[in-house]
Structure formats: structure tokens, C-alpha cells
Assembly symmetry: C2
Homo-oligomer: 333 residues x 2
């Protein structure tokens, strides 16, 4: 126990983090390191992403939502690589004024997501920072050997698909920053809540991961905006892409916003924080993929296709006509 | 390229981090995730540690040394688990005023250590922070299956050993904070430089890892002070320990300091940043261990033994008499 009545690092680990280390390899966080062995026939997939207060989330966001966002942005990367998540390591930089109430709620958020996604904490580090709170997560999962869909593997003729709906989080952020847009877009409170919730809490599409591993040649999660991330996939694969804006799946709330304010479409296509999966599937496999997706009851919508490389990489069309957007990607750095 | 002339995140990855992603599984950082498969017969060992400017290092430290410290505090954890390092993921939180010169030198530090320790970058995240710079690393390595020495596995009668010399970094930090102590301790500039260098740049004892995996029952790296970390090992194993201060290996510089100022002994035994390995070896194996250590030319010194648990966990003796220290562990949190 430290002088200010709050637990020291060992006490803090024992009280808050030990209950989260459920895997045997985590050895109840009694050690500085954990052990892990992927089962036969699987590859380990590793990813890391950090979030910083005031940059990636609002400092006043509920601590449980902050925890879940930190975890889920990583799980979303795993889902896009066709991986079932297994565990994670977490570093948290706490400010001087941290409270046990805050940390307790933060860990409840982790615990709730661990149960939902069947994962364990495997290790961590707790440090002090004079700056804003930050959370850095390294997550790992398992994909059948040789099946990891790489960004680099898109090729001409492949069909492009996305899970769920696009643009909700970007619109939710706009509402959060300026409540007036809600009225301008003619949204009721349920619409606004839907969009805000999508910004606050990503929904990693882990239910789609197995189908992604089975059918997709290339895949990535959409975190920095559909158009910009698609351009990244094209750059990594040295291809281009045509995106049909009319096919991009929108939630009822996003549809209302786009109908009321055509500028909202730009936010939808280029805003960040979707955490949906973008997948490129061989044309020869697309019928089987669509059948499997329908059978599994997963929303996976065709939105365009891979074409030969050209300057700019991505052409957005609507009704066969090119659509100009003011910027391609949300700049989060 | 961003408006201020510095590269955006993609450009920054391409220019500085891609050359560090030498393993095939890292896919040249073109993806959000890497793949890894431990070879047959090995366990993956995972660890994570972060460092924050102004807390764990001085903001004016050379960027290459900051990078190497961030990496090495993690490699030290791997060494203490008997692991050969394989790779790491790195998150860096850059302040608004970051420069390409700084980042370039930071990455040169990583590159130099990657060559020295034969490891690859497997992924990362670059974020902005309004607060001080931070670096969070998750490192992984390989230990032969079933051989990972756990903190929890110390038992009564085992002999305690440490690598290298203890206390140099803690004394180096004192010199850095108050140059006057150098004169009080009667140190010449070579002594002072030795101690300061040990604070600036940890030396993970990876050369000792294979012997630790082969002989040690319990092991950990000493990062928060020998006495306090030994108490942690005892708490995890529910044992006690007797530490013979007279046996604790000291560098010539640390010897001078302790002779000139008995209070320096407290800093030596309880100060942080040693990054040496503390290992508990079965008495029956200790002769073979000492022979193997001598043959390998590794400094591994016996400093005490594990005894039944008692309140306080660790008794420090010198010449058979108890030695009282004002505090057990460096409080870094």
C-alpha cells in the first residue's frame, strides 16, 4: 500500500489484474512473463494498438468503455486476419490522479470483454505518466496455418466485401463534437444513440473471422476510413479498386444523415473507427462465399472490385459516375 | 506527407520501421498483424514493459539509448525466463514536437540492438500524445518446452545466484541526479561513466538464458532492486530468503562507493534498474550449475539461499549479522 492509501504496483496487480489472468500460461501474473504454445495446425497472429486520452477517446468516457475500446481495436485486427483471439498483454499509463474507482471500472470492462470473446490477460505493465492516460494492448490469436489473408494479396478481378455497416462511428463522433448536426440530419434520439455507441465501442467482427480465413485472399479491418484503408490495401497489393458508394451498407441512422446532408457521405466513406472487415475474394469463390455468409447470418456486403493499379488507387462511383471526396482517410496521426 | 513536412503514419512506417521488420511473418509491416509459429519443442515466452519520458528515462537521453532501453528491459525479462528472444512489437507515443532526426536515431538504436540480439520487429503502432513520449514494447522469445523457470517455483534449500554486478545503475542514477556524490564517493571519471552507462543502457543477460532454463527452478530479472525483487520471488513461492550482502557482486566503482559511504550499500541492494538475473537453483544441482557457468565464462555469483517463509520474507546479513535497510524496493510506481 502506498502512502496515499492507493495500492502500489504489486497490490494493484493482485487486486485488479490477477483475476483477469485466467490462462494457465499467464501464471496468475505472478511472473514477469507468460508462456504460450499455438496448437498444431495454427499460426499465431499478433497485433498491437494503443489509445491515448484526448486523441482516441474522450477523457470523460466511461472507464469500462475505454478498456473495451483498447481491447477491441486489437481484436478487430485479429478478426480481419481470420483469427480467433486467444489473449492479450496490456500496458496502462496512469496519471497522478488515478482512482481505484476508475481502475476498478476499467478492469470490469476488460473482464466483461474477456468473457464475451473467451480470452485471457497474459501480462502487463502499469506505469505512471505525467501526460494523458494511455493504454497499449498487444493481442494474439490463431488462424489455421497458411490461411492468414494478407493486405498484399488482393488481385485484379477480386470482389470487395465489407461486414456490418460503414460510417456510423464517424457520424457518431460528429454528433458528439456538435449536437446540432443531429437536428440538421433529422435524427431521433435512438438514431443518435446508435451512432454514438458505434463510436464509443467498436464491435470486432470475430463472428466473421472463420469465413475470412476460409475465403478471403486479402483482408484488413477498417479503422481509418473505408476509402483510405482500401487505398492502403491496393498500395500493399499494387492494384487499384472501384468502390460503388451506392452499395456501401449503411445503418438506418446513417441513411437518414446522408439523405439529409450529402456531405455526410464523405464522413461515411472516409471517417475512421468503423472496425468492420474489408475483404477481397476471388471471383470464382464469391458465390460460395456469399452462400456461406448467408448461411451463417453474417452481414457481408459486396461494395466493389479490385482493378489494375492507377494513380490514386481508389475510384469511388455512384450510379456509374465518379464521386469526388475531399479527403481519403481520417488522419489520426 | 503531412502539412508540416513530416511524414504521415504510413510514410513514417515505410521510412523508419519497415527496414526493422526483417522476419517473414512481419510481412514488411504492410499489414496490421504479424504471424508467428514457435518451432516444435519450444514454448513462446511473452512479456511487456513500457517506459515514459521523465519517469523511466530522462527526456534528453540520446534517442538511440531510449530505444534500446525500451527493448532491453523486455529482453531482460526473457533472459530471466531462460528464453532466446525472437521478436517484438513496439508502440510509440510521439509528442507534437517530434522530429525526424530524433526518430531516425531512435530507429538506429533499435536496428543496432536487433542485430546484436538477432530479433525482428513484428508490428507496432505510432500514436500522438499531448503528454510525454512513451514507448511500450511486447517482446517474445523461446524456451525449451517445460523449462521456463517461474517466480513461484523457489523452494527451501535452493541456492540463490545473480548474474553480473548489482547496484551499478542505482548508483549511476544518483550521480546523474547529483554530481556531488561522485566526489563524496571518491570516484574517478571512468568509475562514474561505468555507473552512468549501466543506468542509461541495461545489459540483458541473454548469454545466461540457456543455463537458467537448464538449471534454475525459479528466476526473475532484477528491475526494482535486488532485495525487493527477491522478496517478490519469495512471496510468489511462499518462502523466505537469506541474502549475504558480503557476497553480492559489486563492480570496482560500486565497491569504492560503498566503502566511502555505507549508505550507498542501501542503494545497491534496493535500487532499481539492475537488469541482472536472480535465480534459485536446487542444492543438488548447484555444483553442476557452477561448473557450467564457469565453463561458459558467465558471471553468476551465489548470494544466499531460500529458507522457510517468515514475516518480511528477506533477511539481509553481513558477516552473519542482520543488516537493516531503510526500504526494500525502488518504488517506480
Amino acid at each position: 500500500m502506498s502512502k496515499d492509501g492507493r495500492p502500489d504496483e504489486d497490490g494493484l496487480i493482485a487486486r485488479y489484474f490477477r483475476p483477469l489472468a485466467t490462462a494457465p500460461g499467464a501464471d496468475r501474473l505472478l511472473d514477469d512473463a507468460a508462456t504460450y504454445r499455438p496448437p498444431q495446425g495454427f499460426e499465431q497472429v499478433l497485433t498491437t494498438d494503443a489509445i491515448v486520452a484526448g486523441i482516441h477517446f474522450f477523457p470523460e468516457d466511461p472507464p469500462g468503455a475505454v478498456a473495451r475500446k483498447a481491447l477491441r481495436v486489437n481484436l478487430s485486427d485479429l478478426a480481419a486476419k481470420g483469427a480467433a483471439p486467444a489473449g492479450y498483454l496490456l500496458t496502462i499509463g496512469l496519471t497522478e490522479d488515478w482512482t481505484e474507482d476508475w481502475l476498478s471500472a476499467f478492469c470490469e470492462g476488460l473482464s466483461s470483454d474477456q468473457k464475451e470473446f473467451d480470452i485471457s490477460l497474459y501480462g502487463g505493465d502499469t506505469v505512471r505518466t505525467p501526460g494523458p492516460l494511455f493504454v497499449s494492448v498487444t493481442a494474439f490469436g490463431l488462424t489455421p496455418e497458411g490461411r492468414v489473408p494478407r493486405r498484399t494479396k488482393a488481385s485484379v478481378g477480386q470482389k470487395l466485401y465489407v461486414t456490418g455497416t460503414i460510417g456510423d462511428a464517424a457520424l457518431g463522433l460528429k454528433i458528439r463534437l456538435d449536437d446540432g448536426v443531429r437536428t440538421r440530419w433529422g435524427l431521433n434520439s435512438a438514431d443518435a444513440e446508435h451512432l454514438s455507441a458505434r463510436y464509443l465501442l467498436p464491435r470486432p467482427r470475430l463472428g466473421a473471422a472463420a469465413l475470412v480465413a476460409e475465403y478471403a485472399s486479402a483482408a484488413m479491418d477498417i479503422s481509418d476510413g473505408l476509402a483510405g484503408d482500401l487505398a492502403r490495401m491496393c498500395a500493399a497489393s499494387d492494384t487499384g479498386a472501384v468502390l460503388d458508394a451506392g452499395q456501401v451498407p449503411l445503418s438506418p441512422a446513417a441513411k437518414k444523415a446522408v439523405e439529409a446532408d450529402p456531405a455526410a457521405l464523405s464522413a461515411v466513406l472516409t471517417g475512421g473507427d468503423d472496425y468492420e472487415i474489408l475483404a477481397a475474394v476471388d471471383a470464382a469463390k464469391s458465390a460460395a462465399f456469399e452462400a456461406a455468409v448467408a448461411k451463417a447470418g453474417i452481414a457481408f456486403t459486396q461494395i466493389g472490385e479490385i482493378v489494375p493499379a492507377f494513380t490514386g488507387r481508389v475510384r469511388i462511383e455512384r450510379g456509374g459516375h465518379p464521386l469526388a471526396l475531399d479527403r481519403l482517410a481520417f488522419r489520426h496521426f
